[in-house]
Symmetry: C2
Subunit: 294 residues, 2 copies
């Protein structure tokens, strides 16, 4: 069994991005600039935004955090989005989710200019990805594809089983895995809460991508020996031995599955770090106007 | 074996739409109005547009056909699209594909206002469908879903195998079949040219949707007894006994598969007529401003 080290790969890619930014600057261009909109004081959101800003520093990007109290109105937040859309100094921006209940998240997402939508959540980017056109791919699916590529996991004709049909992981990663090219060209099956015989289906898989949010759902008896296991789950489970009072648990029973699979991502340190790197990559692409030429 | 009679169902739905249009008019509203843009003199395109205009008449819709020689420039065609976008008398319109080679089809499609994109090809509609938001669903996948619904085919937890990963059939019908609700909630596998063991995979399917464009690809030994077979193939094969010199062939070996399956669509008279009905349905939705409120 080989560990797919998302932490290591993410460091490598950040260094590659930093090198490219250095060259951009040497050619008189300004650094890519990411803005993050943070509403309220949710602990998880604070942590995520801080990690994204730190990654910007590692990549040599400029970054701006716009903080608002959770009393902000939808109209005020929409106005901020429009200002960011029209600000030529900002290449891409994200609105950290979740938003307070009185704000319509979908409306906010659709107000973002697709050319600056580095989270890849706008329907234009989702649709372009489905059609196979250049687009900002959403962060987690793109990060998974990078891991498969960096570890040279064969995907053409491989049976790929995806557990979960969410809009941010299951559905888009299914689209990417079935598209022509590498990594891709896999025979993809998407399982979910209504699926029968999920164990039998998993056992046929050369690649399992687990994104259900159910700790240790994937057990050793569901895995074909030598299969590649990508664990997207990050559920907080209580753990009295930790200072935080919790630890992150993946969807895979790592201890037992790792004994028979060929490759596996740990949690934490697998898909997680790649998600932020995908955002950095999208921001670089935005700054270079590669997806949507000027 | 029961035949899924797309011709009959399409007539029923057109009558339902006509009834609704009659009521709209009785309430002082004008009839839904579809415009079709037809470039050049391709035989297939002429036939399709004529069939769509005829369906408009059956539904009580107004229709307009805008004809252009294939010498029209991309700019002139884009100008026509903008005029249709801004014409309040037109509820929806289609640009019949394929277009002459000097015109960028994708650019034309993206110039269409998503609110009038009744073909459902604009990335905004594709993306919204993927996310599960209200949208104009593209015609063939929507027609397939209507057939499954009208024949009460169970889909929840069913194994659904889709042959083909095209942007207009395979990928969108996969999305619809896996989404929550009925028809949907199926465990979907998408097979394509890189798939190994396609026969074995098909044999596990409760529902097979064949959209490869390979005549008689699906043979009886690939089918589980009692399965539902949806045949999207419409390949023209030479036939000296026909006046036209050809006949339409589906992707399924109907003669032998029909002996063991539970339900099957014929070609012609199965999915084909439903495709036009989906377009009519989208035009009605556009006129009622249901997908995108005013």
């Amino acid at each position: 069994m080989e560990l797919i080290d998302g932490k290591k790969i993410s460091q490598e890619i950040k260094q590659e991005i930093a090198l490219e930014v250095k060259e951009m600057k040497a050619h008189g261009k300004r650094a890519p600039h990411l803005a993050a909109v943070l509403v309220g004081h949710d602990g998880g959101s604070e942590t995520y935004v801080a990690a994204k800003i730190k990654a910007c520093e590692e990549c040599g990007f400029s970054s701006t955090t716009l903080r608002f109290e959770d009393t902000i109105t939808e109209d005020e937040l929409l106005k901020t989005v429009h200002e960011l859309n029209n600000n030529p100094e900002i290449d891409g921006f994200i609105v950290q989710l979740p938003l307070p209940r009185h704000i319509n998240e979908q409306k906010l997402i659709e107000a973002i200019d697709p050319r600056k939508d580095v989270d890849g959540f706008h329907p234009v980017n989702v649709g372009r990805m489905s059609i196979g056109l250049p687009c900002f791919k959403s962060a987690t699916p793109a990060g998974i594809m990078m891991l498969l590529e960096r570890y040279n996991i064969p995907t053409k004709g491989a049976r790929c089983v995806i557990l979960g049909r969410s809009n941010i992981v299951g559905k888009p990663v299914a689209t990417l895995m079935m598209q022509k090219g590498y990594p891709g060209d896999a025979t993809v099956t998407v399982c979910h809460s209504a699926t029968k015989d999920i164990k039998e289906i998993c056992r046929e898989a050369d690649i399992v991508i687990a994104a259900l949010g159910q700790p240790k759902f994937v057990t050793a008896d569901m895995i074909k020996p030598g299969a590649t296991i990508i664990d997207v789950g990050t559920t907080r489970v209580p753990d009295a031995t930790r200072k935080s009072g919790f630890r992150l648990s993946g969807d895979v029973d790592f201890e037992n599955v790792s004994k028979i699979c060929g490759y596996i991502t740990p949690v934490p340190g697998g898909v997680g770090p790649m998600t932020i790197v995908s955002l950095m990559n999208n921001t670089l692409l935005a700054a270079k106007h590669i997806i949507y030429p000027e």
